[in-house]
Amino acid sequence: MTRFERLGSVFLPVLLIFIWQAACVGFKIPSFVLPAPSEIAIALWDNLYIIWFHSSQTLLTTVIGFAVAVVFGALLGILVGSSRFAYSSLYPMLVGFNSVPKVAIVPILVVWFGIGTVPAILTAFMLSFFPIAVNVATGLATIEPELRDVLRSLGANQLDIVRKIGIPRSLPYLFASLKISITLAFVGSVISETLASNRGIGTLMTQASANFRVSLVFAGLVVIAAMGIAMYVIFAIIEKRMTAWAVRGTTFGVGG
């Protein structure tokens, strides 16, 4: 099965790329609308150094913004998930804030923090903390009282309960939210770079698109996707170690 699975994770993308290529050639889609994978590959290869230069910046800002988002999001989630007052007063505001496209906020950040790394980190952070907070809060709010009672009967305080039960129990959902959040962190960095930066995949993309070099734009997209997948693989490994207890599926008949 494992080998079969590994095959799947390679086979499907390859199939998709093939279909894409075929469609581009078959329907004669002009490359400035949707470049064929082959063109993207060429653009990627021809601009390897430039792409490396920009993508390393994007990766840096994304990872920093994301790291801050994990800490802040988890704390916020703990607050919202363990206090009804915080829940009812913060949740609507958070939803409101997150419904606002951050494209509109980045210019303000630029005026305050200048062009470049800081707004990108902040945007990555702003986009990605919310899913973490929501899932942690839900994890805490749905703790079975029976488990909580185990700790309460020992005279544990709220913090103990969060640490010994809340966090471990919501770990599978924390990891779920990390998968959502890392993608948003990338989007945030790139958007900010598109709006204000001299370096980063976003910059590369605007520059390329200003010059109508669409296959280079897509080469940038491919690199972002690849970095996203790389981050995912890292989480998946950590997740497998830390949440094995929660996914002990059965192996017989239905399921698996």
Binding site: P30, F32, V110, V111, N198, T206, Q207, N211
Partner: protein, 317 residues
């Protein structure tokens, strides 16, 4: 020696004409004038004006029409132009031969694509008036700047508005033969307006006259170098930005010189940065009519105080 730091914003991603400052940097004209300039790409002329007004940048390169508009909307926080870079606005309506549109009058009742923020679109009222078209008959389709040319090629719109220097080359990149592209420039069709300028806040200018003077001098030196040897300018730009497409930008620069934007009879005669007060008044008046605001006073829009004598700013022959 202690160089004065200056934050300088362009109007757009690096393009051929920006080599003026690329050369000023490379040939140390800024340093010679006591300045240490950091140059950033811009995100549209309107955005550059806001960044100057907000203090995010000290000096900006932006469309004078955007300056007039911003000043009219924000009378208590105006920005001031101090050097005319483009003698002519590249504002244009661009279309393809297959649309059958050959002159402005043909535009009546047509679908034109452009971003809301496009200055050509915003100035279209004046263009329509000068060419006796009913602006209400135009069916505007709003889209992001880099979608314009695609939409035009795909036939979803019949014309687009924008800077000729941008759209023509995007169309060429999209595989349209240059002969199929029809450009109706505003300047050549009854709207003889000025183009992009250098701007700063009035209080910054008042506090740092030396910086402004030095910046103007360096700009003139850069322009002269660029007009003399465009290829050197392109090399300088590529050193700043590895992605700079020299071939494309050489063509764009030639286009700007050829169309009388960067290189013009007026500049040749009166020196670079020359402003004809009558033409500037027309520019201001046209804008105020289009936006239905009171025309800002000319001295609130531009100053020629920092121009060196004409003899020191003659373009190469």
């Amino acid at each position: 020696q202690d160089l004065k730091p200056v934050k300088f914003s362009l109007d757009w991603t690096l393009q051929g004409n920006h080599a003026i400052w690329g050369l000023a940097l490379k040939n140390k004209y800024f340093e010679q004038n006591g300045l240490k300039v950091s140059m950033d790409r811009g995100y549209g002329s309107g955005d550059t004006v806001v960044k100057i007004a907000a203090g995010a940048y000290d000096i900006g390169f932006t469309d004078v029409n955007s300056v007039i508009k911003f000043n009219a909307e924000n009378p208590d926080r105006t920005v001031l132009a101090f050097y005319q870079v483009f003698d002519k606005t590249p504002n244009s309506i661009i279309t393809l031969k297959k649309s059958g549109i050959t002159k402005p009058a043909d535009l009546a009742g047509k679908k034109i694509g452009a971003p809301e923020s496009d200055s050509s679109r915003m100035m279209f009222g004046a263009f329509a008036k000068a060419n006796s078209i009913d602006p209400a008959s135009i069916n505007w389709v709003t889209m992001a700047p880099n979608l314009r040319e695609t939409m035009l090629v795909q036939g979803q719109v019949e014309a687009i508005s924008g800077f000729s220097s941008t759209s023509v080359f995007n169309l060429i990149s999209a595989g349209v033969p240059q002969d199929d592209i029809v450009v109706m420039s505003y300047a050549d069709n009854g709207l003889d307006l000025y183009g992009s300028v250098l701007v700063a806040m009035p209080d910054y200018i008042a506090k740092n006259p030396d910086i402004i003077k030095g910046f103007v001098k360096a700009t003139i030196s850069g322009t002269v170098d660029l007009l003399k040897d465009p290829a050197a300018g392109m090399t300088a730009m590529q050193e700043i930005e590895p992605m700079f497409d020299t071939k494309l930008e050489t063509a764009r620069l030639a286009f700007l010189m050829d169309k009388g934007v960067l290189k013009s009879p007026a500049f040749d005669k009166n020196g670079l940065g020359y402003v004809d007060p009558a033409r500037m008044d027309l520019t201001i008046k046209t804008n105020s009519e289009v936006y239905k605001v009171a025309a800002p006073a000319a001295e609130k829009v531009y100053t020629t105080e920092f121009l060196p004598p004409a003899s020191e700013r003659m373009p190469p022959k």
